[in-house]
Amino acid sequence: MSLLLVALQSSPLDAVLWPLYLLLELWTDLLFWVAGVTGLELLQYRFMHRAILVGLCIGVMAPLIGTFLVHRQLALIGDALAHTAFAGVAVGLFLNGVLELGVSPYLTAVVVAMLSALLIELISEATDAYNDVSMAIVLSTGFALGTVLISINAGGLAVGINQFLFGNLSTVSMENAAILLVLFTVIVVTVAVTRNQLLYVTFDETAAAVSGLSVGWYNRIMVMLTALVVVGAMQIMGVILVAAMLVVPVAGAAQVSRSFSQSLLVSVVLAELAVLLGIGVSYYAGATAGGVIVLVAVAIYVVAVVVGKVQTAVGDETVAEVGHISAEDADPTSD
């Protein structure tokens, strides 16, 4: 109840997010209990509780979207959108610094990144350019806009921007953690509902179009979800490294998985492993979390490559052709 009162007395955003603040309190209680049982020092701080929750969410949503991106050969789109998210943060900080609007830089990052995601698709469709061309244009524009806004008001902006560039465990606020939970829910629910369609469009775009799917719409959904992941993961990973979580665990999972369903599951497991190990190591080593998480993820990827090679060498990879085939005995169209 006290949380509700505090939320109602503060910003409208807090009033909307207060049920999630309650959830975060429950999470904190749980981790305090775990800290009591295990004696783990890093679990004795509230900021670490929020950082771990955000990390766990990133570990699910990044590979979930990354799996579709990587196999569509759009691995670098995360990088492009991260640079536009940087511009979005700069817009937020600029509005706060110059116009004293008091908006969350994460929300402006969400808006700018989603618009940029649509712009990437729009450029590709309107100009018949390859996706990497439109990504490069949007990436450069985003970074240019960000640097220009920072240079206009370098004082407060330059200081504030560092945490977004490199990520920071200790600056994950209640508000940002709650916003991330919203993004997480949107992403997971959307992927769960449209999994069939996203898979079909990813695997065979023309066949998907022939089967009646609106490929353009699903492409737009995919890039907008990517924008949400990028902004969500930016808090801990930082703009520069955020794209790694979309790609590295998925690349590792592809080495050891036999099916698409398995690769989704394995990529999430690998990402969670990288996030939890990375947060732990960065806490005790006093290093930047984003960098450590990516290094752990790359180490896991290397192990996955070796395991994949061993699997291939040990397994029976020979494929015998089938001889005579006839449709006379079995006609699935008669069902």
Binding site: F203, D204, V210, G212, F260, V322
Partner: protein, 248 residues
């Protein structure tokens, strides 16, 4: 799923990606149960013709119809099975044969999940094309011929009335090509309409009932036997050429 009228129809269709038309004033009608092959030199507009018929591009002039509806508005995608040379996904994508064939059921279930009946249809499609033993194998581990059979199984799983194949045997070894066309013959015997875009003239004349020879415009449209006797190929290619080799 029967259709009394034509399965697919082009009526005076012209289309170009630029000002120069790729296909010009093409009229074509494919009736239920036909086995039609489209041949022509590289850049003759074969694949564009297919895209027009499937509603993937709209004609600059003329009309394209699928099952009686304007092709670009046709939304019963389950009635069409599509097989290309390759899927668009990265070659490393970990996906099994069964997962690919299940895609054939997606137009039927939409945002839902596949039922036991759907699973049975998938199993039967796998058996029909002789891929049941490879159902849990990664598609990347298959030979070219097996991959194409997998795509045909996907079309069968969708219970398609029209099977469209765009140069399906490119890069497939000769023995597998023969088995592949035997499979198409078997499927055609069950009543499926087949539209084949093909560069291999021997395969076309051995298996298709009707040939459309295209080079921007239609040079020949008729029974395969008449095509073999005609000079359409030489006129379409602009050079002396006889059936017995590759056209592409």
């Amino acid at each position: 799923m029967t259709n009394d009228g034509p399965v697919a129809e082009l009526d005076g269709v012209s289309f170009g990606y630029t000002a120069t038309p790729v296909v010009e004033d093409v009229s074509l009608r494919i009736d239920p149960g036909e086995y039609v092959a489209v041949v022509g030199p590289n850049g003759s507009g074969k694949s564009t013709l297919m895209r027009l018929l499937l509603g993937l591009v709209r004609p600059d002039s003329g009309q394209a119809r699928l099952f009686g509806e304007p092709a670009h508005r046709f939304d019963d995608g389950a009635r069409i099975g599509y097989v290309a040379q390759e899927a668009s996904a990265s070659k490393e994508m970990p996906i099994t044969v069964r997962e690919v064939v299940k895609m054939g059921r997606f137009p039927h279930v939409g945002f839902g999940r596949l039922s036991r009946d759907d699973a049975r249809i998938v199993d039967r499609a796998l058996e029909t094309v002789g891929m049941a033993a490879f159902a849990d194998r990664r598609v990347t581990q298959l030979s070219g011929g097996q991959r194409q059979r997998t795509f045909i199984a996907r079309a069968l799983a969708s219970e398609a009335d029209l099977l469209v194949l765009d140069e399906p045997t490119v890069g497939v070894d000769a023995e597998s090509v023969a088995a592949f066309y035997d499979l198409l013959d078997s499927l055609h015997d069950t009543g499926i309409t087949i539209l084949l875009i093909e560069h291999d003239l021997r395969a076309v004349t051995d298996h298709a009932e009707r040939v459309v020879c295209l080079n921007r415009e239609v040079y020949f449209d008729g029974p395969t036997a008449a095509f073999v006797e005609s000079d359409a190929l030489a006129r379409a290619f602009g050079t002396a050429m006889a059936v017995g080799g590759d056209a592409g």
